[in-house]
């Protein structure tokens, strides 16, 4: 979270803000998994810039720092080993929030303003508005938001919105020694990525490609994969989208419920006006005591 003056595009649990007239390019980070050397400089830079407390590393039998990101650890290099006809592969992929164009976390969130999307594409959690319900953890297709047991609010990569807002590049990108991480407008980065994919294909990686899944409106993370036909082997979902259950919950189910509740209240009111109360035999309460059948209808 960061207080800043960036324009907003979407706000959780709120009417959409008016569209700005200024044309703002969507920003993104570029991750080339084929030139990442797994040095984890980005992990350290993220911890350092965001002033996060040290997290205990957990040995899981690979070079990976811990099994999954945590509320205090937003940037994780995932190491995976994979074998196929082509031989043995060792993959390193920088994992963090994908900053979806159509963020499932934001759609699921019930707290106004707890999740915002800036016009530059950054999706950011505002912990002071977050109520800790965890709905975003059901809405995100990438398993990103993490609930802090200490603050009872949710955290994830901010794409260093506080740096970006003042014209700096994110800390992870600043720290990367190989240039496999870059920052810029998404359009620029897609061009760079296309060039890199061309090189890879020439070099024999026939299935090289860009991971920018349309199911979530594209992401502000442009990832180059040598085996883009099988993103699962990098731990990426093949066709991510906002879970159907979440879309159903937030639209048709809500309308149905609203109609049913308003219908129930209106229905009972009309019933009362038309039929009124039932009275016990022998009660005398005044004129309303006429037997119901004799009432004008």
């Amino acid at each position: 979270m960061a207080g800043n003056t960036l324009e907003l595009k979407r706000i959780s649990a709120s009417a959409a803000p008016p569209p700005g007239i200024r044309e703002t390019p969507v920003l993104a980070k570029y991750i080339d998994t084929t030139t990442c050397i797994g040095c984890k400089a980005c992990e350290v830079a993220c911890q350092q810039w965001n002033d996060l407390p040290p997290e205990t590393t957990v040995q899981i039998g690979t070079y990976q720092t811990m099994p999954d990101m945590t509320a205090n650890f937003w940037n994780l290099i995932r190491f995976s080993e994979y074998e196929d006809e082509g031989g043995f592969h060792w993959f390193m992929r920088k994992d963090q929030c994908m900053h979806c164009g159509d963020p499932g976390c934001l759609k699921a969130c019930p707290a106004p303003g707890a999740i915002v999307q800036y016009v530059n594409g950054i999706v950011d959690f505002q912990q002071d508005q977050c109520i800790g319900c965890g709905y975003c953890m059901a809405g995100c297709p990438f398993n990103i938001p993490k609930l802090s047991s200490k603050t009872k609010t949710v955290y994830k990569c901010t794409l260093c919105v506080d740096r970006v807002a003042v014209g700096l590049e994110p800390a992870c990108i600043k720290a990367c020694p190989t240039g496999c991480l870059q920052f810029g407008t998404k359009a620029q980065l897609l061009e760079i990525a296309a060039k890199r994919v061309g090189q890879l294909r020439e070099g024999g990686f026939k299935e090289a490609g860009i991971y920018d899944p349309p199911g979530v409106g594209g992401t502000s993370v442009v990832t180059v994969l040598a085996h883009a036909d099988r993103p699962e082997i990098y731990g990426l979902p093949a066709n991510p989208s906002i879970p159907l259950a979440v879309s159903f919950w937030k639209a048709p189910l809500k309308w149905l419920g609203n109609i049913a509740m308003i219908g129930g209240i209106v229905g009972t009111a009309i019933h009362y006006l038309r039929y009124g109360a039932k009275h016990a035999e022998g009660h005398t309460e005044g004129p309303a005591e006429r037997p119901p059948e004799s009432r004008a209808s």
């Binding site: 019930p110 508005q129 059901a138 149905l256 419920g257 009972t268 039929y275 016990a280 119901p292």
Partner: protein, 198 residues
């Protein structure tokens, strides 16, 4: 006067009633941003989120008590099915043309079972939502199913609740007094529950 509800029955009913209304208001605040102000009025979003599940446990406890007190009276019989077929007459206040009923009519019985089953579903799904973060990613369908079940069951009980409150206060005069003070008149018992004290 005839005793319809003992003090214990009344206490349990009102614990369930007040807690349900709290659950309803805080739940609706999360259900739609248009009603989020309810959570703000009830102490803020974080407080409402924190207390809603605990209130849910109290509601379920009260429901278990009600089950133990009333389940025997709530069994659906053939007479109830006959009554249900003629429910249109009940709706039109033509009660004289209905089969006589015991302590509860079929509508009340169905409402009881709706709340009982709804409460069970709300508990199971609610606990899953309470601890979403502990549901492993490989079982994420549980995170999704929990919200759908919770909302659907919540809406079903809300429908029953609206009719229950309306009938108990506006339509069946004397019903509200009976669950507050415990007593009803003989005429009331004879009119609305002829087979009850025979």
């Amino acid at each position: 006067m005839i005793l319809r509800y003992t003090l214990k029955e009344r206490i349990v009913h009102w614990v369930a009633g007040f807690v349900y209304v709290y659950l309803l208001l805080t739940g609706l605040a999360f259900y739609t941003p248009k009603l989020y102000w309810l959570a703000v009025a009830l102490g803020g979003g974080t407080t409402s989120r924190e207390w809603h599940p605990w209130a849910g446990l109290v509601f379920v406890a009260a429901t278990v008590f009600m089950y133990r007190m009333w389940a025997a009276d709530m069994r659906i019989t053939d007479a109830d099915r006959e009554w249900s077929r003629a429910i249109g007459r009940y709706v039109r206040n033509e009660d004289a043309h209905l089969p006589p009923v015991g302590r509860y009519n079929a509508g009340q019985k169905y409402f009881f079972w709706l709340m009982f089953l709804g409460g069970a579903l709300l508990l199971i799904s609610g606990v899953a939502m309470w601890f979403t973060a502990s549901i492993p990613w490989s079982l994420r369908w549980l995170r999704h199913a929990a919200v759908l079940v919770h909302v659907s069951a919540g809406l079903a009980t809300i429908g029953g609740f609206i009719i229950h409150v309306y009938m108990g206060t506006a339509v069946v005069r004397g019903g509200f007094t009976s669950i507050v003070r415990g007593e009803v008149s003989e005429e009331w018992a004879r009119t609305h529950h002829r087979m009850w004290k025979r």
